[in-house]
């Protein structure tokens, strides 16, 4: 086993946040799902909805809430990962050992991602509530989970890049959060502005859906994690092009961030 992974996991599990964050995460997730259940099943004078619909509502609520929470938590684990070595002046010791830059990066990346995945796994009991109502199959659970993992892996790699680029954890974490906001919120705003402009310019032409929109309008959404998650709910044969494109974009972003992080680690001049 890579010594870095063992060291990182040992240190992370000893921190207070090692148990505090999962507890808080489950508490928030449980509260949101309970609230969604209450809203879905309250009869406001309309006919009560079917059990399977409740299951779908709970599942979608859970999937989006989970993604939002994990996007908020991922930078905490990754963005401080290399800067902490700079702050406590241990990076030189690592770089002059026989550990390669790739091993150091992989140790940091795997341990950051593993902790976020631990949170994902701990939410399975909450997810089982949606199963109890029906309407959700194994495919939806699998594709949503896979998509969430790709997004989190990519965000962890980006967080690690900022961690290698900055000297202080606080700066790396702030820029990581700015990136999360940029890809989640700013891309959506840009998309809605672009689509409004497009529709006003093409009033005469009827648009039938996503595939009718030009790439110049839809492009920002391919880096939006919530859109990526939405595309994962499509049946397997309809994953192309939206889900596949999003997956390629996120994997490419993660790969680029990993490459830049390795370059920063090999430069070493800012120790």
């Amino acid at each position: 086993m890579n010594p870095m992974i063992r060291k990182e996991l040992r240190q992370r599990m000893r921190e207070r946040r090692g148990w505090l964050l999962p507890s808080l995460y489950l508490f928030v997730l449980g509260a949101v799902v309970t609230f969604a259940y209450y809203i879905a099943t309250t009869n406001n004078g309309r006919s009560p909805i079917q059990g399977s619909s409740v299951g779908v509502i709970l599942f979608l609520t859970l999937a989006y809430t989970q993604l939002a929470l994990l996007l908020l938590l991922a930078p905490i684990f990754s963005a401080g990962s290399i800067t902490i070595e700079k702050e406590q002046r241990t990076l030189a010791g690592l770089l002059t050992s026989l550990l390669s830059s790739t091993q150091i990066w992989w140790g940091k990346f795997a341990s950051s991602l593993m902790f976020v995945l631990l949170l994902l796994v701990t939410s399975l009991p909450v997810l089982s509530m949606a199963f109890a109502f029906g309407g959700v199959g194994p495919w939806e659970v699998f594709s949503a989970t896979l998509t969430t993992v790709i997004i989190l892996a990519s965000m962890s790699a980006i967080g690690l890049y900022f961690s290698s680029a900055f000297q202080r954890s606080v700066h790396a974490t702030a820029v990581s959060y700015a990136t999360v906001v940029a890809i989640s919120v700013v891309t959506a705003i840009v998309f809605f502005v672009r689509i409004a402009m497009y529709e006003s310019a093409h009033r005469a032409t009827a648009t039938h859906g996503w595939s009718d929109l030009p790439l110049s309008v839809t492009a920002p959404m391919y880096v939006n994690p919530f859109f990526f998650l939405t595309t994962s709910f499509a049946p397997p044969r309809q994953l192309y092009p939206a889900w596949t494109t999003c997956a390629c974009v996120f994997i490419a972003l993660g790969g680029l961030a990993a490459g830049l992080t390795l370059r920063n680690l090999r430069r070493r001049g800012d120790l």
Partner: protein, 311 residues
Amino acid sequence: MIDVEQIRKSFNGTRALDDFTLHVGAGELFGLVGPNGAGKTTLMKVLSTLLPIDSGTAQIGGLNVAKQAREVKRLIGYLPDQPGVYQDMSVREFLEFFADAFQLTGARQRAAVGRALERSGLAGRSRDSVEQLSFGMKQRLVLAKTLLHDPKVLLLDEPATGLDPIARIELREQLKQLQAEGITILISSHILSDLEDICTQIALIGAGHNAEDDEGHSVIQLRAPQAPVRIYEIELLGDNAIAVNIVKSVAGTRLLEYGAGRLVVEITGADEQVAALLRSLVVAGVNVFRFDRRALGLEERYQLVFREKRP
């Protein structure tokens, strides 16, 4: 052992090292002196593979620091000017992690960690958190960590900074001991009295290049490098009279004890000196069946220290 030839290193147009040259022989305890910003830390980082150079060559043990970084890392132990520790680990965990990082596993790791604990004087505190150690103890722990993989060359950047007088004396003694074990040491320090006490030579560095004193020397010779002294036990078949004569005739060799089929010999010098004695014995027809290095015992140590002082 360390050969630096006209190296240059710039940061944003400012030259930190400017045609700097340095040669450190094997087994030397070599000091590096210069004012703040002279380029000492940059040189240490270059030699420890942390910084690439712009031009020139830097070699350790004949290996190019830039092109053979991994092999160089096996040879060197680097102690930065402000070494860090993992406060939330125990002393043993800290050493085990770095032993892992130097690919020491199983029995080799246990032996290396045990040796490091003994060397740092922290054997009784191996379960304590690093956070609980004093600054001096942490410095000893980091030096012990630096020695885990038995490096042939030690690069120490201001190792005495922040240490109290007792800890500085202990560090000096430890460095002398390491030099006696044959380790080449390059040390930078502002505490000139420490360097004067322990170093064989001192190089002067100023504004990134070799500085010279009023006599034009860029390297000050303080004392001849101490050749390593080692004790060997030789066991042989038959009469040892020929072997005794050979030992007495080989330069740099001294007979400490001899008895039936057994000799104890002190050899002063490099490995070639040891090889020369063994070759002489074999060529003379002595049936050597054991030729082993022995750790210095208290008696030999006593002899080595006081032999020259006897009236």
